[in-house]
């Protein structure tokens, strides 16, 4: 049984400290938004969650390509780890967005391009997990998982584009927003700092969880091979 690597322990501590600081910044450092009030504070972690979600799906697609090219099972473990983490973070992004929307659009949900795409994205990766569950052979499971992760990552932007052709009301805080967007606002420097810090922190959380999950996956693979050896 290998012990937890020292670097991982350090990363754990750094991540926890960063997260505590980020929470502090969101509540005490960032100024109160004039129009929306307190509910605007959801925004910092909402975008950070969505960012981790997208990052993970991208990692899964890249790991999928790497697995198909090299056939090394470590890439399969990375892909699964990324999808599992991202599903949770993306779901949190949807829920926190919903809370914000209730406060500023007055509804929990609208069929806006970003919201719809996010929902479909969750379904794609839920299907990914169901696909993996239905296959016993580890090699085939890894191949099919890789193929589906690649397909999903290509389809989701197309879904976004297709719904985007309708008009959107979701605010675009970074870059130019649509004229019809409701609930957009200009960030003060303090808000921008908090926002960037949240993104930074959540990237650390993602890296930390990914490392833990990959380690878990490797240990599970080892346990599985030991079990097979004893059965023989």
């Amino acid at each position: 049984m290998e012990t937890k690597p020292r670097m991982l322990v350090i990363l754990d501590v750094v991540t926890i400290l960063l997260f505590a600081t980020a929470v502090g910044m969101v509540f005490f450092y960032a100024p109160l938004e004039a129009v929306m009030g307190q509910v605007q504070r959801v925004f910092y972690f909402h975008v950070a969650n969505a960012w981790v979600g997208m990052l993970g799906f991208m990692v899964a697609a890249i790991a999928g390509i790497a697995f198909l090219r090299k056939g090394d099972h470590k890439w399969d473990i990375v892909g699964l780890a990324a999808v599992e983490i991202s599903l949770v973070f993306f779901f949190t992004a949807i829920v926190s967005g919903s809370i914000w929307a209730r406060g500023s659009w007055g509804t929990w949900w609208t069929w806006d391009p970003r919201l719809t795409t996010a929902a479909i994205c969750e379904l794609v990766y839920a299907a990914y997990l169901m696909l993996r569950q239905g296959i016993e052979d580890p090699d085939r499971r890894a191949r099919f998982g890789a193929v589906y992760a690649i397909l999903g990552f290509i389809s989701v932007p197309l879904t976004f584009m297709s719904i985007r052709i309708f008009r959107t009301i979701h605010p675009v805080v970074i870059g130019s927003g649509a004229a019809a967007a409701e609930g957009s606002f200009d960030m003060t420097p303090k808000m921008l700092q908090t926002f960037m810090f949240s993104l930074f922190t959540f990237s650390f959380i993602f890296a930390d969880l990914l490392w833990h999950r990959i380690r878990l996956g490797k240990l599970a693979a080892k346990a599985e091979s030991l079990r097979l050896k004893t059965l023989q």
């Binding site: 198909l68 479909i120 379904l123 794609v124 299907a127 169901m130 696909l131 569950q133 239905g134 296959i135 016993e136 085939r140 191949r143 099919f144 890789a146 193929v147 589906y148 690649i150 397909l151 999903g152 290509i154 389809s155 197309l158 879904t159 584009m161 297709s162 719904i163 052709i165």
Partner: protein, 243 residues
């Protein structure tokens, strides 16, 4: 000895044929095999057709398809019907290969793997076109809507290609899992949503006589989707059937 020279001739013919010629011939053979099997059993097409008509009937009661509703939801009803019937066909066509061990035979045959993919995909596409060719006139008669619009047919052509390109790949994945029949729609629908949205919007545009400028984005999206997914499926199919 009559068969021997013949076999020799055949061998020489294959040996001298170019890669493309070989590819087209194996493609043709696979499509012809699917069509011939279907012509004898007729189980796939009849199931797809009856199912499609049932879906339209259910929509009739569920949506109260009166004259006013028809103008706006016709495209949606048609595409849901095609998508559902298509899933049925895709599942059946791959399950047949798997159950009778035909897929192993196909894989053992000395043909390019992509020929198998394109053969199956074109076979599925033909079945889908047959179903559409029967559903469209039936719908036109039942609801007295004129569906013979070249633009609409173009959208149906592009949409079906995209749907079948992804569907064939995913169905060959789904049949190799434990939960096969249940899994295909779950895998397929979230991925083909761009096709369904663009197809429904494009069809509605043509049915309501909108300007081509308003319809063009949807057509572009369909073409982009078709190109991307045919290419990707072509690239990854090897890994899906590899044993």
């Amino acid at each position: 000895m009559q068969p021997l020279p013949q076999a020799d001739k055949q061998l020489r013919a294959t040996g001298s044929a170019t890669g493309a010629g070989q590819f087209v011939r194996s493609l043709y053979a696979i499509i012809w095999k699917d069509l011939a099997a279907e012509l004898r059993s007729r189980e796939l097409l009849s199931a797809m057709l009856v199912f499609a008509l049932l879906v339209i009937l259910i929509f009739n009661f569920a949506l109260e398809l009166d004259a006013q509703a028809r103008a706006t939801v016709t495209a949606g009803v048609l595409w849901v019907t095609f998508a559902f019937a298509g899933t049925l066909g895709l599942n059946r066509s791959m399950a047949m290969e798997k159950d009778r061990g035909c897929l192993d035979g196909l894989l053992l045959a000395p043909v390019d793997r992509s020929a198998i993919y394109f053969g199956k995909a074109i076979g599925n596409l033909i079945f889908m076109f047959i179903v559409e060719a029967i559903v469209l006139p039936v719908y036109s008669v039942l609801y007295s809507v004129n569906l013979f619009n070249p633009g609409l047919l173009l959208v149906i052509l592009l949409g079906s290609i995209g749907y079948v390109a992804v569907g064939t790949l995913l169905s060959s994945m789904a049949v190799q899992t434990r939960t096969r029949d249940v899994l295909l729609p779950i895998l397929l629908f979230p991925l083909v949503i761009p096709v369904l949205i663009a197809a429904v919007k494009g069809s509605t545009g043509f049915l309501q006589g909108m300007d081509i400028i308003d319809i063009r984005p949807w057509l572009n999206l369909l073409v982009v989707y078709d190109v991307i997914f045919v290419a990707i499926a072509f690239m990854v199919f090897d890994y899906v059937v590899e044993e």
